[in-house]
């Protein structure tokens, strides 16, 4: 890529979200807004290598988008106007659209960006559509980059994005910031999308390493952005805290040969203390806002307990059990119960842990989670601590058979060796 092309790409990453948001305020359709912004980008790619990068590239792109919008309207490609407006004639429409875009250009407001995020994460969309659209419109990632990150063919990803745009259009999803109870539900959806993006980068064990790290970073950036746009929403800060604290362990999570290293065995000097600091600050912010007992805040508080411990032995498991108790109350999921059983095992001994694990397995029932390899894996650990070695071996073997993840299999096989 030439230097100018790289610079244009950088400008696009910085400007596109606000550009699309400002156009969408006028067109009320984020699909059309993105197309117009893309058209403007194409114009820039043609013009800037000769003319040089303009002093205010954002304004330049907005002007180009406006010209394209008026062109499209002239050719009847844009059908965003209401019927009564159509009756008033094309010329009037062009004038009106031009004026509106001009005003929009002058004052891209934060609310536009927030509306764009809420629309991209709208519950009417399939979750994978929300993720793709968010990365595309707010993350300014190309379709190829998103496809690479999610290990799907570019064509599939492109279709996913078009389908999402079409769904929004057909459902007449308004370009707006929700309020009241609706706001809470929609914030939840936005945070879920951000956390899924983070986890895709953090937990995936195959695929492009660089791209996965970029996904986690992008999720963190989105989190920080939301912290500015929705400063009063405690769970936004709590999610930022949770992601920072988890990401702080990145360098310690893999051994020399790429094998997984679990928390108790990690070299704590490899943790990223600048991230931990940022995570702790965000968690305090969430707690100050009165959200300490909400789901992301509780998960972040649990992570914080681990990060505060100088050694694995110093971990405050009593507090972790309390936090899991609270989390289980609001989110009675088998996974939370499983993690709580581990904590109980640390505080009250393996027998109590085993009882708690049975309760977690009951909660899982016949659901897909009943086949989750961590159930036998944790059971095997607890049995081992109780000295019931042959039973422990059986459980670990079951766990190996239940996971397809090679690194997990390795880890479990090592544990099995210790039992021989």
């Amino acid at each position: 890529m030439s230097d100018v092309a790289k610079t244009i790409e950088a400008v696009w990453k910085i400007e596109s979200t606000r550009l699309i948001a400002a156009i969408a305020r006028v067109t009320h359709d984020i699909g059309i807004a993105e197309e117009l912004a893309q058209d403007a980008l194409v114009t820039a790619l043609e013009a800037w290598p000769d003319e040089g990068i303009p002093d205010n590239p954002g304004a330049w792109l907005m002007k180009a988008a406006k010209r394209r919008a008026i062109d499209s309207l002239r050719r009847g490609r844009m059908l965003v106007q209401k019927h009564e407006e159509i009756a008033r004639g094309l010329e009037w429409q062009q004038q009106r659209l031009g004026d509106a875009l001009e005003r929009s250009l002058d004052q891209v407001i934060d609310d536009d960006v927030l509306r764009l995020i809420f629309t991209a994460c709208h519950p009417v969309l399939a979750v994978e559509g929300r993720i793709a659209l968010t990365l595309r419109l707010i993350g300014a990632l190309t379709t190829a980059e998103i496809a690479r990150a999610f290990l799907v063919p570019e064509k599939t990803l492109g279709q996913r994005i078009s389908r999402a745009k079409k769904t929004l259009s057909e459902a007449h999803v308004p370009f707006e910031t929700p309020s009241g109870d609706e706001l809470r539900r929609r914030v939840e959806s936005v945070l879920m999308v951000v956390y899924l993006i983070f986890n895709e980068g953090y937990t995936a064990t195959s695929g492009d390493e660089w791209m996965r790290a970029a996904l986690s970073e992008e999720a963190l950036r989105l989190g920080r952005m939301l912290g500015q746009l929705l400063p009063g929403e405690s769970e936004v800060h709590a999610l930022v805290a949770l992601m920072e604290l988890q990401a702080s362990r990145n360098a310690a999570r893999r051994g020399k040969n790429g094998e997984a290293v679990l928390l108790p065995d990690q070299d704590r000097s490899l943790w990223d203390y600048a991230r931990i600091q940022r995570g702790m600050t965000a968690l305090e912010q969430a707690q100050r806002l009165g959200g300490g007992a909400k789901p992301y805040a509780l998960q972040a508080a649990i992570a914080a307990c681990h990060m505060r411990a100088r050694t694995a032995e110093e971990t405050d498991w009593d507090r972790i059990v309390l936090l899991y108790d609270a989390l289980l109350q609001i989110n009675p999921s088998p996974i939370v119960a499983l993690n709580r059983a581990v904590a109980i095992g640390m505080v009250q001994g393996p027998a109590a842990g085993l009882d708690a694990l049975d309760a977690a397995a009951t909660l899982a029932g016949d659901s897909a989670l009943a086949g989750y390899h961590l159930f036998p894996s944790v059971r095997g650990d607890l049995l081992m601590k109780m000295g019931r070695l042959s039973e422990a071996r059986e459980e670990i073997q079951r766990a190996i058979a239940m996971t397809k993840n090679l690194r997990e299999q390795e880890l479990l096989a090592n544990r099995l060796k210790q039992l021989e």
Binding site: A10, I14, E217, R221, L222, R224, Q228, S269, Y273, I276
Partner: protein
């Protein structure tokens, strides 16, 4: 990737110890800082007092010498820094081109080493290095 943007204001090497930016300049800078924050790229920032309020500690043949500022031989001085997290060097440069600078100010952009950039033997020297103070 993380970048530090080192601000080198014109004439800061000889500024008085109590020199402060004007309210107007501070307001412009704050607006810029907020734009970095709203884009989610800002990790940290600070402004530094002028060198006349600082000191230099130099090491020569095992001898340590402390010299109070200002430093007559200095041609420029650092006035502050930003640390941002972005996806490319170009993106860092684009952000910093937008900073509200005065005539003849300079900004130096440098990438920050990540532990993973070092070879294993260097990483090993960091073993046991824990700045726990951040967890007060």
């Amino acid at each position: 990737m993380r970048f530090i943007m080192i601000l080198i204001p014109k004439g800061y090497e000889s500024a008085a110890p109590d020199a402060l930016p004007s309210a107007e300049a501070a307001a412009k800078m704050m607006e810029y800082n907020v734009s970095l924050q709203k884009a989610g790229v800002l990790l940290a920032l600070d402004g530094l007092l002028p060198p006349s309020a600082g000191a230099r500690i130099s090491y020569c043949d095992g001898k340590v010498t402390v010299t109070d500022g200002p430093f007559a031989e200095a041609k420029e001085a650092v006035g502050g820094y930003w640390i941002i997290q972005v996806r490319s060097r170009e993106e860092a440069i684009e952000w910093f081109k937008r900073a509200p600078m005065s005539n003849n100010d300079i900004i130096e952009v440098r990438q920050i080493f990540e532990m993973a950039d070092f070879p294993e033997d260097v990483q090993k020297t960091a073993e046991g290095f824990e700045h726990r103070n951040v967890l007060a």
